[in-house]
Symmetry: C2
Subunit: 520 residues, 2 copies
């Protein structure tokens, strides 16, 4: 049952760039093919010379009936339902008899042809709502020949004109392979990717931001700001707050800009463990001199894998444990230096490094409790300085992945969906939908369909070189990072805490419609 606020949000009308209002008055303009390296051309035989397309005004275009399938891949991001709503409104605007089909639980539904028609009632029930629960999601990928063929079978049976894959870097890589496979099979279907991930690590020149990031960060920032205000009143705790976001530190950076905590670690700075522990201990010592025995420290989830000596240790352990199942024996095979690093770590972390492994045998970095680990090491360092602190730890992640989408995400996702309908009508395949200048007025948003292959690089995966979309990390030259780097010194000792408060949906646009701070 929907809450009163959810009910209200059902009737929110997302704002879209003016060009998307009437799809019969626009078309796509090709922009010249991507110049791909030979290595990629050999893999994407049919789809290496796809064009980038931008939206433009046109004479009235007669629409035809479209059947479009859509699926969610990977973790939730607020706004996903609005992509479906935009798609639905777009294709039914193009032709009233168009049909939207949702595949159940991600790519699994595509493989097994488990789907349901998303009619007006279904779409209306999830407008501006969080979660992916209308059709579910999964991390299943289409990898084997059989899976590709099963997907083809589904696509043929459903007579799809387009397949929209709403996902992150891996899912969009997968979308490119599907586009190539279908093209090779002579299928006239558009495979269209939509950039989804709260982690914001799917970026390119054209993709400013993935959807969900804004809402998730606003939710985390609400909590962080509340904790800051609490620290300021009770004056006795150091709050170590770990934030979701896998490898990249975009979420930590955005939340730092929104809340101005005393310290924020950015994984991409690749600092050594001793340096990190010293910085935190120094902060606590300096604040103590000012009579301040409290503070707030943000940690990105991926921190540990960027600490050079631990990264080396993890890489080596991954190699050894691929062959050696006895963990004690594995540790003995480490070099002297790595052994020293390993045994300098708290016992619990040693255990986690050995036991928390994914099916490929790799350490599951997200499961390592970095916040506890740092608290322990900082505590030891402080003990040597005859100092004490009261640490409290938090981990925010699941709280923000399925929240009600902010107006920004609601608008952005709806625009992506409606744009997707246009791309489907125009039979463009192998592209990911991109909107630029999203922090400016709607009239300035630039909509582009970008060939996914143009975003690809080669990476080693499971011992083989594979074309993938590389995760976009925090760029230490970016304006957002530089702004943060310039300000953070002042946040250490002064308490410049900002408390953004809960996301607001009604009232002044200044408060309800703000875009992510890292985009400004």
């Amino acid at each position: 049952m929907l809450s009163a606020l959810q009910q209200k949000r059902l009737s929110y009308k997302p704002s879209v760039p003016p060009l998307l209002n009437d799809l019969s008055a626009v078309s796509l303009e090709p922009d010249g093919p991507s110049n791909l390296p030979d290595k990629l051309c050999k893999i994407f035989v049919k789809t290496h010379d796809l064009h980038k397309h931008t939206i433009k005004k046109s004479r009235k275009v007669d629409g035809r009936k479209l059947i479009v399938g859509a699926l969610f891949s990977g973790g939730q991001a607020p706004g996903g339902h609005n992509v479906l709503a935009g798609l639905f409104d777009g294709i039914t605007q193009i032709h009233p008899h168009s049909r939207l089909i949702g595949f159940i639980d991600g790519a699994g539904g595509l493989i097994e042809n488990k789907c349901k028609t998303l009619d007006a009632a279904a779409i209306d029930s999830v407008r501006n709502q969080g979660g992916f629960d209308l059709i579910g999601a999964s991390r299943i990928k289409i990898e084997t020949e059989e899976q590709f063929e099963a997907a083809e079978k589904t696509v043929r049976e459903q007579r799809l004109d387009a397949l929209v894959i709403i996902g992150g870097d891996d899912s969009n890589t997968n979308a490119a392979f599907l586009a190539e496979f279908f093209a090779a099979k002579g299928l006239s279907i558009s495979v269209i990717g939509v950039p989804k991930t709260i982690d914001a690590d799917l970026r390119s020149d054209e993709i400013e931001i993935s959807f969900g990031f804004d809402s998730a960060c606003k939710t985390y920032s609400e909590m962080i700001g509340n904790i800051e205000r609490d620290a300021l009143s009770s004056k006795k705790y150091y709050h170590f707050i770990k934030l979701m976001g896998r490898s990249a530190s975009h979420i930590a950076l955005e939340c730092a800009l929104a809340t101005c905590p005393n310290l924020t670690l950015i994984s991409e700075e690749k600092r050594g463990l001793a340096q990190i522990v010293k910085e935190i201990a120094d902060l606590i010592e300096e604040r103590k001199k000012l009579g301040k025995n409290y503070g707030v420290i943000l940690l990105p989830e991926g921190l540990i894998e960027f600490i050079p000596e631990i990264k080396e240790l993890i890489t080596l352990l991954n190699q050894i444990l691929a062959k050696e199942t006895d963990t004690d024996a594995a540790v003995k095979q480490l070099g002297e230096e790595q052994k020293a690093v390993f045994f300098s770590l708290p016992e619990k972390i040693q255990q986690q490094l050995l036991s928390e492994r994914d099916p490929h045998g790799n350490v599951q970095v997200a499961k390592i409790e970095t916040e506890l680990f740092l608290i322990e090491l900082v505590g030891k360092e402080l003990e040597q300085r005859n100092l004490k602190f009261n640490p409290v730890h938090h981990y925010f992640g699941y709280e923000g992945r399925a929240c009600l989408p902010s107006n920004f995400d609601a608008n952005y996702c709806y625009a992506l969906g409606k744009f997707g309908a246009l791309v489907a009508r125009e039979k463009v395949t192998g592209v990911i939908l991109a909107i630029q200048h999203v922090s400016r007025s709607l009239a300035e948003w630039e909509l582009t369909a970008v060939p996914i292959v143009s975003l690809m690089d080669f990476e080693m995966r499971a011992g083989k070189e594979k074309p993938v979309i590389a995760k976009a990390l925090v760029d230490l030259e970016s304006p957002a990072y530089l702004r943060f780097a310039q300000k953070r010194g002042g946040w250490k000792l002064d308490d410049a805490y900002q408390m953004p408060g809960p996301m607001q949906f009604f009232g002044d646009a200044e408060i309800t419609d703000s875009a992510p701070l890292t985009l400004k």
Copy 2:
């Protein structure tokens, strides 16, 4: 620096019951003295026959200049700053030259006469803001003869007409003793208590709810609802969410009514450990049969001390460890039954029971990680049934103690403050401010100043019988609990999740002005 939303909230004008609009047109009417037991009368020699007072219309009352001191005692609760704002607006309405003095960092400021004048600028900077940071707070209590005398000295030096103590059960008990002490010293000062605590365990016939509970629960419920929606989409995790609230389960009950999770444990049901573990494991097993490998379970912080066999173990350990410092030896002194219970607990909990002790040697129940403990025991139980689950744990507390107050708390606190000004003018002492029917329209709110002594019972504290305000636990006969008890069966297998979303401050009153569900 204030965020855009905080800025906006500065200008929110709280709504108060009509009688509070013009304090010159109202006075207090005594309602007959409390009938206290002899034992209390002997302790409260000067103040045992205080009257309950209710507000009534009167002919125009000429105000005189008042000097009022205020302090925050204990943990934060959203709305505290509005009590100060109401007090300030009240006493300056009574006489423009009245002065509000804030004692710094709680009772410590009173003892050491550390204070600051809270002028219009200071008050205007915190209207409708969370936290207690304008003057800080602490858990310091006035206990020794010297402390009472120091407080008297401050009160005389500052020429206070009234001292307002904003705090929970212990702080209001303390207020009653101060009122008695000042009266015995012939000081004409009103000591006035204000019921503050997010835990909502300070209740009586007249005190429906303590302030802060509403905002804190709305913040926790936002997070719980978000996690529920996440669970519904990703379909693979069991979220164990522990909620702050010390002994009583009011917060868990309120959040359960707001979010309808699959299971909510209520400490006051006093169920055995095996029964609790079985219920959770049964839930997981039954849901698995429906293909549902996910769920959300709420746990009150105080759960563990209500589990009969653990309560007995803790009581015994407290007694033994008061004399025996060697923990191994202490365990050996346990009876056979308690030993069996002790060793049935996960090792980490065994350690916490022995090591996490307060200065009186008592187990600090709040520090015991009940959520991890239950996850471990449920995991073992499931293993025996050849079942698995993916648990995730959360603990929400600090996120909600200092958040922006909801409109409900902003209004309620402002009314309490303004009522406090009236009570100060009327020279009534030893009372706690109470408002009834707060979930109805403002015109129906009933304002009463209740003698604190009338709330007191005797309890054993540190081996001595002492008069205290007993913590109000969840009443298993209350309408709120019965409503919960009636509905919870349906929440187990069906996912009736409710997602209240972030607190809203603008727009429809239905959404912005709702009162706690447990009051309805």
